[in-house]
Every structure is written in C-alpha cells, then in structure tokens.
C-alpha cells in the first residue's frame, strides 16, 4: 500500500510581499492548512485522490483570500469569469469548465463535466446546466464580490489608462 501525500497551492492575485501584513500572512497559512486538513481527512480515511484534491480545492475556493471561487479577480469588464479542471490519473478521465460564474465551487462543476458528460471541457450556459443538474450549489454574483479584488481591478485599469501598466508577475498570475 502506498503512503499517501497531498500538496496544495493558493495564489492570491495581485498582492506583493510588501503588502503582506503579519495578520494577512497568518490568514494565508491558516487557509492553506485548512485545505490540507480537508484533503488529509479524505486520504486518511482510505478515500480517493480525486476526492482529496476536490475537497482541498473547495476549501481554497471558499476562502476569499485566494484567487478562485469566492475570491476570484475581475476581468477588465468588471465581471468574474472562473476556470477549473480536474483529472483522474487512474483513468485519465478529465473535466474542465471555463468562463463561468455561478457555481460556489467551480472545481465541482469541472468534476460534474467529467462524471456526467462524454466531454472534457464545457463553457457557457451548458457548463452551468451540467453543474446545476449534478446538484452543484450556486451563488449569486454578490457572494463572489470582494472589495480587495475590485480595488485591484481599479488600480490595474488606472495603470492601463495612464500607460504605466508593468509586467509584474503578480499581475499576470492567477
């Protein structure tokens, strides 16, 4: 029997080291640890790697600190478009969604595509329908709004208008 292991990453969007207060740093550590705990609980109970990674990612999506789900950044049009994917190494089954807003956990929408369709990637209204039909919980747009992400958008748009947008990796990363 293999000894299990799990890794997570949680990108925070446009946040620089200089802006990271001790309180914020502690919150990020806590968010990452809660994600690890969720996945670890699955694996320790002889659960599957797929259940573990989706459990961990759901925790990160529920945490506004991270750029996914509830903490997603905004497009230049001031809306949110979320992408997610899952892949199962045992079967090479995969599911992905792109450009969606609505499912509380986009990763579960991706899993619904994998488990309930013959396809790998769906976008647009049918991606949402597959998620809804699979019982994935939905939220209103207000659930996903965070002031910090909105302020980051305004800052970036101003830099763009002023012609001083830089190539800061923190701006280009999810």
């Amino acid at each position: 029997m293999t000894r299990f292991s799990l890794a997570v990453h949680g990108g925070a969007g446009t946040i620089r080291r200089a802006n990271l207060t001790p309180q914020a740093e502690a919150a990020y550590h806590n968010g990452l640890k809660r994600a690890l705990q969720a996945g670890h609980a699955v694996l320790a109970d002889h659960g599957s790697a797929m259940d573990a990674v989706t459990a961990a990612v759901c925790v990160l999506e529920d945490e506004p600190l991270f750029n996914a789900g509830r903490g997603a950044v905004f497009t230049s049009d001031g809306v949110q478009e979320m992408d997610a994917a899952v892949m199962d190494g045992a079967t090479r089954m995969a599911g992905a969604v792109a450009g969606i807003l609505g499912p509380r956990n986009p990763v579960m929408a991706a899993r619904a595509v994998m488990e309930h369709t013959d396809h790998v990637m769906l976008i647009g209204p049918n991606a949402l329908k597959v998620a809804r039909d699979a019982g994935v919980p939905f939220e209103d747009a207000g659930y996903f709004f965070t002031q910090a992400r909105w302020d980051a958008l305004q800052s970036t748009l101003k830099m763009r208008r002023d012609g001083i947008e830089d190539s800061d990796p923190a701006r280009r990363h999810g």
């Binding site: 293999t2 949680g10 599957s48 990160l60 950044v73 892949m87 990763v107």
Partner: protein, 135 residues
C-alpha cells in the same frame, strides 16, 4: 489560482486546479488552468500536476504534460522533470510561475521561479507544512 495534487493509498493520482484568472484580463481569456496537459494533468504512470503562473506560456509549453513526458520517455525523476520545466522551459520564455506535482510513490515536487507562491503539503505522517514566498 488554487490547486491540489494527491497520491492516495492505492497509488492513484489526481489533480485539480481552479482560478479567477488575471486581474483585468480580457473578457473570454482562458489560461492554462482548464487546459488539460498545460495547467492540470494526472496519469498514474507518471505524475499529477497543478500549475499557476503566466498561463499563456504554460499552454505553449504544455507544461504539465512535459513533466510527464520527461519522466516517461527520459527516465527523469519527478523532481528533475518538474524543475526542468519550471526553471528552464518556462523561466527562459517569460513564463513566470510554478507548480505542485506528485508521483505514484507519493513523492512531491513544488518548484517555482517567481515571488509570491503560497504552498502546503501533508504526508501520511500528518506533517502539515505551509509556506509563503519560499520553497
């Protein structure tokens, strides 16, 4: 972007990635996250990978699948393959970012070539570890 990779007690691998994309991205822009083989990949014979970074470059270099290919065809270890892709293929082509990866023996690798990575790992021993801005 957030993500997770895991190896379970049966030696099965899985990867999951989720993102809001880039701040002020063009409407309709899709990065590497949902592109299988670029930002998300899993195959029990090699590895599971979840990436984050400059998505267009991850797509052009099929970053996740490249790690698996290096293991499958080149005989490289997970860590050798992952570091090569992140520190050379991506880094030398304006592809800042990083990834987390696991192989079917439960070995973990998490290279990155930029500032601002938030990571966590745990093994069967219950050794929970979280890191910010350092490998």
């Amino acid at each position: 972007t957030v993500g997770a990779v895991a190896c379970d007690m049966q030696g099965n691998l899985a990867a999951a990635t989720s993102t809001g994309g880039m701040t002020a991205k063009a409407p309709g822009r899709v990065g590497d996250t949902p592109v299988i083989g670029a930002g998300t990949y899993a195959d029990n014979a090699t590895c599971a990978v979840s990436g984050t970074g400059h998505g267009e470059v991850f797509i052009r270099f099929t970053a996740a699948a490249e790690i698996a290919a290096r293991m499958r065809h080149g005989g490289q270890s997970l860590d050798q393959a992952a570091k090569h892709v992140v520190m050379q293929d991506l880094a030398q082509n304006d592809g800042s970012g990083g990834l987390i990866a696991v192989d079917a023996q439960g070995n973990l690798s998490r290279p990155f070539n930029s500032e601002g990575m938030y990571r966590g790992t745990v093994t069967q021993d219950g050794d929970f570890q979280t890191d910010i801005f350092r490998d």
